[in-house]
């Protein structure tokens, strides 16, 4: 029998080979552009925000007469020549601290899930690799800022697209679906009082002490230390962050309703050291369809825009007041946009040839808007931004080398598909 090297060691040495041979190693490319932000608040507008009704306004249309165009009037902003919809009146004066990217584009329109996946992973679906979400990528690339807080928190519904892919569950999110109930697993069940929880934990500790588990090996020890850690994170120390009542009434009001409160919570999480917070604006109480404004869904679209406007303006001002705006990147993103034409019910279909996303904060050189579309926002004309470029810009803002590789087993996987950050912002 020929003795072989230990299996683990063998794998490790194979990976070393990979680094040398396969990687797009940075020593052959120009130095990466790197920003200094430490956190990211990623606001997700599920359903596909209509750019022509919000961040890329054009001439007015008429849904009844089926004349293509914007649903709302445009207004001026603090950046000369850049206009937004009238329902963005609160961010309009702050637009010099933001950049709307109006020329982002991809090719998925017919299926939300696939487009959501594209705008969370920056990739087309692969037959062989499950790509990590942007949140997991950030968590893996720069990790936690403190042991007292998780790296990646999601305020929205769990799904595969927001998950860690091949990076493994260590880089998964903690999630909560609203600001009241706290994160699944870390917040005390509703019927359990704090006193009772304390009693339970004491009982568990005592039973663990007398528990003669036959085989207390490394795996049990690891599990026990995970247990200790979870008790710590579910204890009052960290869960305090979810208590929005600690903030002043006027600040809470300035953020607005449930979506605003989520943004406020995101700020608190970031303050506590969380790296990446995805905040979903999926509050479909007002129009049922959320941002997916087919047919009658469009009639109350302005309410969604106003909610977003209020929360975003409050978030920017609040972070600024706390001197955190420079080190926090705020992103507003969505799976695709919508065409200028109206559908049978006066709403809009899907369009991915061009749509708008927004960046704010992070000490970037903001310019109000980047990229230009044609007269009805149907096609991008100038400064086209691909999805990989958009992702590279986010990673670069956070000081992450967007050109480096992760490894799925033996296989090198670059952080983006050759994305290049928007140099003008740095």
């Amino acid at each position: 029998m020929i003795p072989l090297p230990d299996r683990r060691k063998f794998i490790a040495s194979s990976s070393m080979l990979t680094l040398g041979g396969l990687a797009l190693s940075s020593d052959t490319s120009p130095l990466p552009i790197l920003g200094k932000a430490e956190h990211c608040i990623f606001i997700w507008l599920g359903g596909g925000m209509s750019q022509i009704d919000s961040l890329d306004p054009k001439r007015l249309g008429d849904p009844k007469l089926k004349i293509p165009g914007s649903y709302y009037k445009p207004i001026d902003t603090s950046v000369k020549g850049v206009q937004v919809s009238e329902h963005f009146s609160k961010i309009a004066p702050l637009l010099d601290r933001m950049t709307i990217i109006r020329s982002i584009h991809h090719d998925v329109i017919d299926e939300h899930a696939a487009a959501v996946n594209r705008m969370h992973t920056g990739r087309t679906v692969s037959g062989t690799v499950i790509y990590p979400s942007i949140g997991s990528t950030v968590a893996r690339a720069i990790g936690v800022t403190t042991e007292e807080a998780p790296a990646y928190v999601l305020i929205g519904y769990p799904n595969i697209t927001r998950g860690p892919g091949f990076l493994g569950s260590k880089y998964n999110y903690l999630y909560l679906t609203d600001t009241v109930s706290g994160p699944a697993g870390l917040s005390r069940p509703e019927l359990i009082t704090a006193t009772r929880q304390k009693g339970r934990e004491a009982l568990l500790t005592e039973l663990r002490k007398v528990n003669k588990i036959a085989n207390k090996d490394k795996s049990i020890e690891d599990y026990e230390s995970a247990l200790e850690q979870s008790l710590k994170l579910s204890g009052p120390g960290f869960t305090k962050v979810f208590n929005l009542a600690e903030e002043s009434g006027s600040l809470r009001d300035s953020y607005g309703g449930e979506f605003g409160q989520r943004c406020l919570l995101a700020r608190r999480l970031v303050e506590r050291g969380v790296r990446f917070v995805e905040v979903s604006h999926n509050l479909n109480f007002s129009n049922g369809t959320g941002w997916d404004v087919h047919n009658q869904g469009i009639e109350k679209q302005h309410i969604l825009i106003q909610e977003l406007d209020q929360a975003m303006a409050a978030l920017v001002r609040d972070l600024d007041a706390k001197k955190m705006l420079e080190k926090t990147l705020i992103v507003i993103s969505t799976e695709f946009g919508r065409p200028p034409e109206f559908d049978g019910g006066g709403g809009r279909g899907h369009q991915s040839k061009t749509f708008s996303v927004l960046l704010a904060g992070a000490g970037l050189k903001h310019r109000g808007a980047y990229g230009e579309t044609d007269e009805l926002s149907k096609k991008p004309l100038l400064d086209l931004v691909s999805v990989p470029d958009f992702f590279a810009t986010i990673y670069a803002s956070l000081g992450i080398d967007y050109a480096k590789n992760f490894y799925d087993g033996d296989r090198p996987v670059p952080l983006t598909d050759s994305g290049i950050p928007l140099k003008v912002l740095f």
Partner: protein
């Protein structure tokens, strides 16, 4: 009265007819019962259907028959005789086409073919070659007569469609009509239509009038269909007397063609009672008919009820589902079109004026004694999600069960005389665009004077002999409990049907079994080595393991020239180390000299170098000082003691070894309780019940472990436990919404049933590869799907490689593998075999252009295939198996997919059997003999001979997984304490002296929580379409899960609160924390098992944990607490339930501290309320999820899910809370989630 033309004669005649001849009848088909029409029939053409007959149609024979087409492309085909045949028409030629039609139904704007020449889409013909055609066409609610041809292209004109449609028509469903068209080509004004003997006007409404000639070629004449069998152009109904004439048939003749006595058949459908062939006597007899093509009309003739697909009996008029439909392989497929369910029984009813409540999802009718009592409305078609949220429906009686979501209910009075009444319930179940869900179809009755409805059963009079409590009331708890029982009946029906159908293939598989056995005989594995110590051996497996350890010890002896490893260490390890190694009973450790010379609790050193007589060890083994060691058995032999003395005298050296001595000591065998917990978890996936543990502990049979193993292997829950393993390995990845992101179909059901039926693995894998049955309903065809994937079969080839061949081809998808010998071509050759055709490499599966240019150094990866290169279907792995082994075993020669299945699964491919036995070994022992189990290239086996021996046993059993699993479970190797460290050891240093310590899988955690606590898995149905209004290819319904494997990712990529399934999510939160992946985009062999904080966190604080530890009124644990006689009994019971052992004295005293105070007064005397909530919410599904209210309802549901059932009001709250806290603590102990 009519001429009968047979087409052979026609052929001869046609050659004689000149184009200028006067009117000639070219063909006239009467479809008589005796007629031997030389028409070739394709698909569902039914002869001997009742045609137009007297007295309504006096010109016909009383026994006149017609022909019926199923409308799915079925047709008669008449071959064109060739060039210049009589069926060729050009300008100045006249044609008359006529037919009798009986068309029950036509959709808006449909064009259905009666007869036409050309446009068959046959190879060699253009798609625009309509020579001529007679059709019916729906327009503005009436069915018109229509004529169609395509004009011949010329130099200046590329030709065009020309369609004439009559201005008037008839109503579909109004019985037999006669229609005809006459036309002289080249003269657009010459056209005339005929309907029921009257000339009718019309217009050229497409392509306009033309004087151009028609296309004229040798394409075939089709009756009943066109366009390759296009379903929306195929005739769905009956035809009679179809004729083709050359020339214009005279008006006088066409006028006389139609003679009817009385008015036309009314379109308003009359409900006709068709007496069932079989009526249940003491049961409800059910017959299911498939292929009915309507969801809003009823069959009205006896012929529609000729052959039920299945008949069965149930005790009640309650139909929570219909049996599953299986194909000829016993694999799940879909019911065709709409299923008509008929249920009948002679019901004994007391006299009185009663009320009857009929429920159904699709349309339903109830007949009593042949009279229609009531009907429910038709099933609603799908909508876009904007339907209003319906208010909570009123209850038919206080406390009654609410009507099912999307179901209809009708309440009627029923005045009955005492005695037998024949009840016949019919329902239209599902349809072409709907799943075949029955909802909560049922017939219930409220007898005069009673307050509650009960489900109708054959005897509604309470006679003294009747079993007490036999009534099935229409209340939530009864519906829940009774349908659980009915489900068992249906499962046994499904089992029976499936196994019957699967036996169609048994002959082939019997031969394969013989072949496997013969191969195993002719290729024997190495015989197991001889035992050196029988105490370490249960079966052959242990012999192989011991041999490797002995070999290692002998090597050590050679190396260090010591008898220690061969003689002394075995004595110490087998007799002493159990207590004096890691543990130190009596303060004594014996595993090193350093420890052994120390004094233990006795104050005497165990070993005094050079002085055996002074060594306490010797005194103990001789039994000189106090009690003898080892305490059990006969003690050491004189010879063994002599060896020890000699060794101590010589200095008691512990010579080092290349393998540390402790790594060569077999771990002790597990105690009975731990063994039982482990073996239950490994076979049925849940821990044993307290009574199972007590029985096992009390059992004196020395073979009780073997007996238990046999019992567990025969338990049907074995399938529930093992299905999830194959879901991972085979990347089963269904989505309940439209497939995307590499989704497959839900072939979990195929896997589950294969396990349930003990399908041999060669057959299982063959059927998987052949992809049979329905994609969306659980057939192995679901494996074929890989949504959003540019080469689905390449994804499948990758899965098959890792699952069954130990070949990892992940990298080969886009380029040759850098660390393996596999090339991209290998992967695509297998993909091409799966696809049964030459594959073209898409650009998207290649390395992007420019990648190699960027490199300064030579790249590790090579792409030997170029985009758009063609790859032939061929077996690439000649080092694993030769492709010619398959040649004698193919049912269809030349089928590449079948060939691939055979090459993989035949015993000559030894890799297959070895990979599988290694997988079983790994799942049970924690580490494979070969690691990684999915990637064998350049790996060696830790025990090559054992591997070969197991593989041979597997092959000779006919690839029965359980034969190998049984061998492993019975081995001492498996039954030892889990102290192994095999996973990190390299193959040569892997000895399996103990199994690895394994954490429970996610599924085991969840299933154990429910099983141990007795909590019901009350979660939502896993679907977004609970009102069954979407086709299966858009939305799946995976049902209400009972076990963890039945869950799937909820994939709410749309992020809509209205699509949340909060109770399902609560379980998924736990599953995901413990390493389960609901979306398996890639195959998984090794799950992540490393502990992280979300695991203990979700068990401590998750919603599911609240449910498990909550003592609600319906909860099992509440009943346990109420019925317990003493606190001790209760404490024992919950330790047995959650940890499969009794509490230690320390644990017990802690328990009693909590349970004893207030135990006597814990029970309160209030009348308990049921946990089935009366506070009802409106229902949300895809149909209405886009309206505002849907979000609010779902948020309320989420809140309720988090709260769980209200705590029991039967128990004192302070005592209850303490007991709940103990339960909580028990499943939060690390011990709970680790397999002993």
């Amino acid at each position: 009265m009519f001429y009968l033309f047979v087409w052979v004669i026609l052929l001869q005649i046609s050659l004689l007819i000149t184009p200028l001849a006067a009117q000639e009848t070219l063909a006239f088909w009467h479809f008589g019962s005796e007629e031997t029409t030389r028409l070739e029939s394709v698909g569902g053409v039914h002869r001997d259907i009742v045609g137009p007959r007297p007295p309504m149609f006096p010109d016909f024979d009383p026994s006149n028959t017609a022909v019926k087409f199923d409308g799915k492309g079925s047709r008669f085909v008449l071959k064109d005789p060739g060039n210049n045949s009589s069926f060729d028409f050009t300008n100045k030629d006249s044609i008359t086409l006529e037919s009798w039609v009986n068309l029950p139904q036509i959709n808006k704007n449909e064009n259905l073919y009666i007869i036409g020449k050309g446009r068959t889409y046959s190879p060699g013909f253009p798609k625009e070659n309509q020579n001529w055609a007679l059709r019916v066409r729906e327009l503005d609610g009436s069915t018109r007569v229509s004529f169609l041809f395509f004009s011949q292209p010329t130099k200046n004109d590329k030709g065009d469609w020309h369609r004439w449609t009559s201005k008037t028509g008839f109503k579909a469903g109004s019985g037999w009509h006669h229609l005809a068209v006459t036309y002289t080509f080249g003269k657009p004004d010459s056209i005339s239509g005929w309907l029921d003997g009257k000339k009718i006007s019309g217009a050229w409404d497409m392509g306009g009038p033309t004087s151009n000639p028609p296309v004229n070629d040798n394409d075939d004449i089709w009756i009943g269909s066109s366009m390759g069998g296009s379903i929306s152009n195929s005739f769905r109904g009956s035809l009679d007397d179809v004729a083709i004439h050359r020339g214009v048939v005279a008006d006088a003749i066409l006028e006389k063609r139609f003679r009817r006595v009385g008015p036309e058949q009314s379109v308003v459908k009359v409900d006709t009672f068709i007496a069932p062939e079989q009526v249940g006597k003491n049961s409800v007899a059910i017959q299911l008919y498939e292929g009915w093509d309507s969801i809003d009309s009823w069959p009205s003739s006896k012929q529609d009820f000729l052959k039920p697909v299945i008949s069965y009996d149930l005790p009640f008029f309650a139909f929570h589902r219909i049996p599953l439909r299986y194909d000829q392989w016993g694999i799940r497929t879909n019911w065709q079109e709409t299923v008509v369910l008929r249920a009948s029984s002679e019901v004994i009813v007391p006299a009185g004026s009663h009320e009857i409540l009929v429920r159904s999802k699709g349309a339903a009718r109830l007949w009593i004694d042949g009279k229609l009592l009531c009907k429910t409305p038709n099933h609603n078609k799908e909508t876009g999600g904007h339907e209003a949220v319906k208010p909570v429906p009123p209850l038919p009686a206080a406390g009654a069960r609410q009507v099912g979501y999307g179901d209809h209910e009708v309440l009627v009075k029923f005045a009955a005389t005492s005695g037998k009444h024949q009840f016949v319930y019919e329902s239209l179940v599902g349809g072409k665009k709907f799943r075949h869900d029955t909802g909560e179809a049922s017939v219930a009755i409220r007898l005069q004077g009673e307050t509650q409805f009960k489900i109708v059963q054959p005897n509604l009079i309470n006679n003294p002999g009747a079993e007490l409590g036999n009534d099935f009331f229409l209340i939530d708890s009864d519906w829940h409990n009774r349908t659980l029982k009915l489900e068992l009946d249906l499962v046994s029906i499904d089992d029976f049907t499936r196994r019957e159908l699967a036996s169609n293939q048994n002959q082939y598989w019997a031969k394969r079994l013989e072949n496997s056995k013969a191969w195993a005989r002719n290729n024997p594995a190495p015989s197991p080595p001889k035992a050196t110590n029988l105490k370490l051996v249960n079966n052959e497996i242990d012999l192989f393991l011991a041999a490797k350890v002995d070999q290692q010890l002998k090597q050590s002896q050679d190396e260090v020239g010591s008898e220690f490893h061969s003689k002394i260490l075995p004595i110490l390890s087998q007799n002493c180390f159990r207590c004096h190694f890691e543990k130190s009973k009596g303060g004594v450790k014996l595993h090193s000299l350093e420890e052994a010379v120390k004094s233990g609790d006795s104050g005497k050193p165990s070993i005094v170098k050079g002085a055996p007589e002074k060594s306490f060890l010797i005194q103990k083994v001789r039994g000189i000082a106090t009690e003898r060691m080892p305490p059990n058995g006969k003690g050491l032999s004189e010879q063994e003691i002599a060896s020890l003395e000699k060794w101590i005298k010589a200095g008691a050296e512990y010579p080092s070894n290349s393998v540390a001595a402790k790594n060569l000591v077999f771990a002790p065998v597990l105690d009975d309780a731990s063994f039982l917990r482990r073996v239950f978890l490994d076979t049925v996936g849940v821990p044993p019940t307290p009574s199972e543990i007590r029985d096992f502990l009390a059992d004196k049979n020395p073979l009780k472990r073997n007996v238990t193993i046999d019992k567990l292997l025969a338990d049907s829950r074995f399938a529930d436990h093992w299905v999830s393993y194959w879901q991972d390995v085979l990347a089963e990845n269904p989505n309940i919404l439209k497939p995307t992101l590499n989704n497959s179909g839900p072939f979990r059901f195929f896997i589950y049933e294969a396990l349930r039926d003990n399908k041999p693995m060669d057959r299982f894998v063959t059927e998987l590869i052949l992809m049979k049955g329905n994609i969306y309903l659980g057939g192995s065809a679901g494996f074929a799907l890989a949504a959003d994937n540019d080469v689905p079969m390449a994804a499948k080839a990758h899965v098959l490689g890792t699952a069954f061949l130990g070949v990892e081809m992940q990298c080969a998808r886009c380029h040759d593998s850098p660390f393996h010998s596999t090339t991209q071509k290998d992967l695509f050759q297998i993909s091409a075999m799966l696809d049964r055709k030459v594959l073209v490499l898409p650009k998207s599966s290649t390395v992007p252009a420019g990648f190699f240019e960027k490199k300064e150094r030579e790249s590790l990866i090579k792409a030997t295939l170029k985009p758009n290169q063609k790859i032939d279907p061929e077996w690439p792995f000649l080092n694993i198996a030769k492709p010619d082994i398959a040649q004698d075993w193919l049912l269809q020669i030349g089928d590449h997919r079948e060939k691939l299945a055979a090459i993989i699964t035949l015993p000559q491919n030894q890799r297959f059997a070895k990979v599988l036995v290694n997988r079983y070994w790994k799942r049970l022992m924690g580490t494979g003999i070969v690691e990684p189990a999915f990637d064998w290239e350049n790996r060696i086996a830790s025990h090559p001979e054992l591997l070969q021996w197991l593989a041979n046993e597997f092959v000779s059993s006919g690839f029965q997984a359980k034969s190998v699993i049984k061998l492993i479970l019975n081995s001492q190797a498996y039954q030892r304490e889990a102290k192994g460290n095999n996973f990190l050891a390299s193959a040569d240093k892997r000895f399996f002296i103990a199994p690895d310590h394994r954490r429970m899988t996610a599924e085991q955690v969840v299933d154990s929580l429910f099983a141990a606590s007795g909590t019901l898995m009350k979660v939502e149905e896993i679907t977004f379409d609970s009102d069954s209004r979407q086709p299966a290819d858009r939305m799946l319904n995976l049902g209400v899960p009972k076990r963890a494997w039945q869950y799937t990712s909820l994939s709410n990529e749309r992020d809509r609160p209205s699509l949340a399934l909060p109770r399902v999510q609560a379980v998924i939160d736990v599953l995901e924390a413990f390493g389960w992946q609901g979306a398996r985009q890639n195959p998984i062999t090794d799950r992540e098992t490393s502990p992280h904080l979300l695991q203990p966190a979700i068990l401590a604080n998750g919603t599911l944990s609240s449910w498990i530890s909550r003592l609600s009124n319906d909860s099992f644990l509440a009943n346990l607490a109420i019925n317990a006689k003493t606190p001790e009994e209760l404490g024992d019971e919950i330790y047995l339930r959650f940890l499969s052992r009794l509490p230690s004295p320390e644990e017990k005293s802690k328990l009693l501290e909590m349970i004893e105070p207030g135990f006597v007064s814990r029970i309160k005397t209030t009348v308990p309320k049921s946990s089935f909530s009366n506070n009802r919410l409106p229902r949300i599904s895809w149909t209405n999820h886009l309206v505002e209210e849907a979000t609010n309802v779902k948020l309320e549901m989420e809140k309720r899910a988090r709260m769980g059932d209200p705590p029991s009001d039967r128990l004192d709250p302070y005592w209850r809370e303490r007991f709940e806290d103990i339960i909580w603590a028990l499943f939060n102990l690390p011990e709970f989630v680790y397999i002993p």
